[in-house]
Amino acid sequence: MSLRLILDLIARLALWLLLAPLLPGIINKVKAWVAGRRGPPVLQLYYDLARLWQKHAVLSTLASPGFVIGPAVAWVALAGAALLMPLGPAGSALSFRGDMLLLIYLLALARFCTAWAAMETGSAFEGMGAAREVSFAVLAEATLITALLALCVQTESTSLVTMLAPAAGAGAVLLAAGLFTVLLAENCRVPFDDPNTHLELTMIHEAMVLDHSGPPLAVILHGAALKLLLFSLFLTEAVLPLGQLSTLAATGALVGGVLAVTVGVGLVESLLARLAFRRVPLLLTTAFLLCLFALLMAWKGGAE
């Protein structure tokens, strides 16, 4: 491994770690703006993380060391998935055929570790959250794989750099709608989950981390922000033809795209109510069908 690659990876990691907590701040600002409030500062999550990192932790008497190690492994998995993601004009530091599958399975590893840590406490609320998380992920993962297949067939390649460079073709709108829905589900945003609710019975992600505190909670919150940035980037790069633009334009399009997605999440959250849980599979199936149609269009487009 050359020195240059290591420096490249460190630079990327720093960029990811620093920028990720910005997104929840922007979403909250948008929500406050729609509601006519002033809202918390955009950098609020940074303050929270710094504060939590210094605090001492309270652990359940039932919890094993896995309660702390789980969030750490999940965070590593999410950061690893982020490093696999190409950054528009900067390309990817580590790219190989089939890297998109590693990305999907790293997300799965993060999910497993979060669910494991949630189950450590023996709490029914946390069990409920974990059960919902892993169950809805079945549909979300099928949707993601379908979206990846669509991109693979469209670009006739199986590595993220080449898959994400050109535009998504005829099925771009379908793909964007499907991926945006998956983004909302996987990041536990409205209409799948309400990050601000005070009723534990209706939560997914927040219910899983009820008993976490101090540094582990900081790691979990930062990991969630990384995941949100990862999905926004993926959506932007899948739809926009970044590979065909000049470096400056591509960077602008990338940043603009991620911002647009973030603002979109904020608007959805302001304008929609949370769905009843029995409707969640329905919405996810719709997202799956959207991606499936995108896949069929990609197939048809190439055949002509």
Partner: protein, 648 residues
Amino acid sequence: MPGLFLLVAATGLGASIAFGPRCARLWLGLTLVGTAAALTAALGVLTGTPEWTWRSGFLVGGEALYFRLDGLSAWFLVLVSVVGGLGAVYSREYWSDAHNPASAPRGRAWWSALVLSMGLVLLCSNGLHFLIAWEIFALAAYFLITLDRAQRAVRTAGWVYLAASHAGTVCLFAFFGLLAAHTGGWELGPLRDPGELKPLFWLALAGFGVKAGLFPLHIWLPSAHANAPSHVSAIMSGVAIKMGIYGIIRFSGWLPVPATAGWVVMGLGAVSAVLGIAFALAQNDLKRLLAYCSVENIGIILVGLGAALLGRAQGNAAWGRLALAGALLHVWNHGAFKSLLFFGAGSVVQATGTREMSRLGGLWRALPWTTALFALGVLAVCGLPPLNGFVSEWLVYLGLFDAATQRAASVWAALPAAILLAMAGAMALAGFAKAAAVVFLGAPRTQAAERAQECGGLMRSPMLVLAGGCVILGLAPMLFWPTLARAVGSWNPNWTAGAAPAPLTALSAAQIAVALLAGGAGVWLWRKVRGNGLRRALTWDCGYAGPTARMQYTSASFAGIVTGWFGWLLQPERQLRRPRGPLPAAASEFVRVPETVLERVLGPVGTCVMRVSETALRLQQGRLQAYILYVLAGLIAMGMLVLLGGQP
């Protein structure tokens, strides 16, 4: 050279059958020598020694013995000998003379017989001897499953296994018989030309499919694997069902196959993967869950094999080779992590006396080793990086994705298979998050779980070895690529050449990085928490003052969402006693998921057959007059038939 080692292996195992009932230590030593020798022979063939064949000068059953050890059979022989040896060590503590004085001695003999007969199945290159070895293998497995035959459930499971196994063997009799009739001899080997042999593949698929446990031929598998002693479950699930896979791979390599074979195998594989794991998710019995998960993994292997068949049919496409490599690697991987998980389940059963997950919980404190090793196995079986399950699934996926991007004709099989595999993978994660969490985390739900004791060194060391195997296969898959390429090459000679594909090396680097960073981050965060100051308190649970263990989420409620989607298939039986009145005394809900194919399809059909037979039985009441009447009526009927226009 492999011949010498195989002779040592056969002698060792043969002697261990003889000494097994009397002297446990000698048995263990002989079994270990035998399996080690077999392992050496197999690894020798996989790492470069030319394929080994031997034909006897004498006849057995009218045929000369013909043994052959090539890349493919050596690949499976490695698995047989590793799990055979480790299981023997495990059983010394788990099924010891002290605890099971009646069954332990015969269990040892049957264990050696099982390992020896599976080795013979892999070596025999003569249809007649293959069938004999296959039958000994089936019987040895039956006697091992029913070691604890005092229990009714065990006897039933054994009978279902024996019946299903013989239904499969009937297909194999027909297969080998027809094959011998067409080729004029019992000896087996690569045959390419005769197209009329193609339909025989379906017989082989059915016969070997029963043993492999592919859906819907898996009916015997869950109850047999759940009720057998855990070391037997481990070798049945990790190795014995792979003999079915071996048969399908072997004869699809040697014989011409129908054009639709690849499509059917891939379809069956994808269905097995999704439905197998759906059943697994719904189980509340730890070992039944593991058993159904084997159906899923067999599905993954078959998807890879199906893609390989399609790839071979379409001009030996490179993606077929990737998929076959993934399937074969998954044979090893599943053998390693499933045996590990069954050994872990055995440790739980020994410590608590129950397999019901709703009676367990919080075992991590009493069983720290078992918990850690089981957790590792769970990560591997879910196909999560950086362990071995991910590598083989990744190879299969890559084969499917390549088939899709190259717009080969088989894309219509590859696309749905990839999507279904993704669903199965996510469901496996849900199922094993549930199993591991309900059994090992939280608070103990019963006193039995509270008083659990960790297993001893003889049970722990085989688990450690298997866990090490999972880690090495996961972190350094390219070390095993040359051996894998040899196994693939003996299936299709056109796929022999080639170094490890470049992405595999990159993947391996990424896996190592993830493993190191995850370990480092875990330790670092733990130290940070300790450094910041750490306080222990009751689970907060939004303000409960006195949470009890019974308030925890159970395995059935955890799986409720997904099993609801598959309600049409699973048909769970519910017994619900609702709380009544202002101060309800008792309420309960009992959920059982039946084996749908066995109880809802085969059961009623069997009952119908029995009814019809009973009706026919009325004709036979032992009176001579009646029989004379039957003969007379038969003669008259035949005479009418001839008179009315039958040709003489």
